[in-house]
Symmetry: C2
Subunit: 228 residues, 2 copies
């Protein structure tokens, strides 16, 4: 690990001297002390992206929800649970040259989360009240000062992938959207492969299905080209 | 692994020839294809119990939700996701001499779970409708035919542990309740130790805080005494 850190410090990759923020994993939104709302993101794609960026010499701040996969080496890991904590961590991180929002952030949190475990008996069915979570991608994309030069969002869709992702890019104000189809039949969510479409000013560029590591390396290379 | 299997087959432990059903882990209840409701059970206590029972010679059917810890060796593993799947697996298992329900089963499932990912935009906040899940512990405890001789439930509580657990035992009709306090401050849920109270016809017997493996071994020994 020490040798890896020295390697990274001595690395002369194209991203040397650049600071890149990467978010990854799901968020967990509490219902009560034992229950929470989660999503099927394993964190594999986000970890692979952070690894690929570090391998090109970038200094990476890695803000991660409770992921299934281990955090990558050679990055600064900032663990969080909820979307609100993730936004705080993103805002507390040093100014970044690029930001990649690969986390599957919960859209909502439960506003009437209990301090005690909800009991089944007598009190009937739970009445969960929701409020929207902060929109981390839009918040960073629309920063007036200190906005990263390149802001990359992800869109995990189950239908009309390109249309939804293109609309998301315009609505959020980010530079790129990495869109993918997370329908259960694709096996992508929780799996080792990904089939993404990169949506930018140049339109929609479909990449062939490949390993998440390969997607990450290709994306890191493209990011390096922009930051050069 | 092969040697362990041979050991088990040759084992002359006090539970040789007995079939014991163990449930473990959380259940996941889908909201849509990517979101679900989960709970903080790691499956560590259930896995430890199955391991301890197998070590005493029992044939163990291990019905497990998506746990953090690996499934034990030398048991028949039946993986499930939801509470309804868990009940089906329990009912499909061969008749058991004892059943230990260590899983943290969701009390409710979402009745309006979507086939497509719920979109944040336009449609407002989610309106989740819930229905109670089947009560696996009560169902087995109240079997008219083929009820296991010993049915053991768990009660994970955050307050009034003994009172809640004693009431639960009476309501479900099980023989024993293993009660514990899962308040976040205890560090038990997701941790390596447990502090349980065994509630039976003889009243409430508080065990000292100890490793989950030690709790499992003590419980397995007590089960063996009943089944002898």
């Amino acid at each position: 690990e020490i040798i890896a850190a020295i390697d990274a410090a001595l690395s002369d990759g194209p991203l040397k001297g650049k600071h890149i923020l990467v978010t990854s994993g799901p968020t967990h939104e509490p219902i009560d002390p034992v229950r929470y709302i989660a999503n099927r993101s394993s964190g594999a794609q986000g970890s692979a992206i952070a690894t690929a960026l570090a391998a090109l010499g970038a200094e990476v701040s890695f803000v991660t929800g409770p992921a299934d996969v281990p955090a990558p080496q050679n990055v600064r890991v900032i663990p969080v649970q909820t979307a609100r904590e993730m936004l705080q961590a993103v805002q507390a991180a040093p100014a970044a040259d690029a930001a990649v929002f690969a986390a599957a952030v919960a859209d909502w949190h439960v506003t009437n989360a209990g301090d005690s475990k909800i009991k089944k008996d007598g009190s009937g069915l739970p009445q969960l009240e929701f409020a929207e979570n902060p929109d981390i991608l839009a918040t960073v994309s629309q920063m007036k000062q200190g906005r990263p030069k390149l802001v990359v969002g992800f869109a995990a869709e189950t239908d009309d992938v390109i249309a939804h992702a293109t609309a998301k890019r315009a609505r959020k104000g980010c530079d790129w959207i990495v869109a993918n189809d997370v329908s259960p039949a694709t096996g992508i969510m929780g799996g080792t492969e990904n089939a993404v479409t990169l949506i930018s000013d140049d339109g929609a560029e479909a990449w062939p299905r490949m390993g998440k590591d390969a997607v990450a390396q290709r994306l890191a290379q493209r990011i390096a080209e922009v930051l050069l």
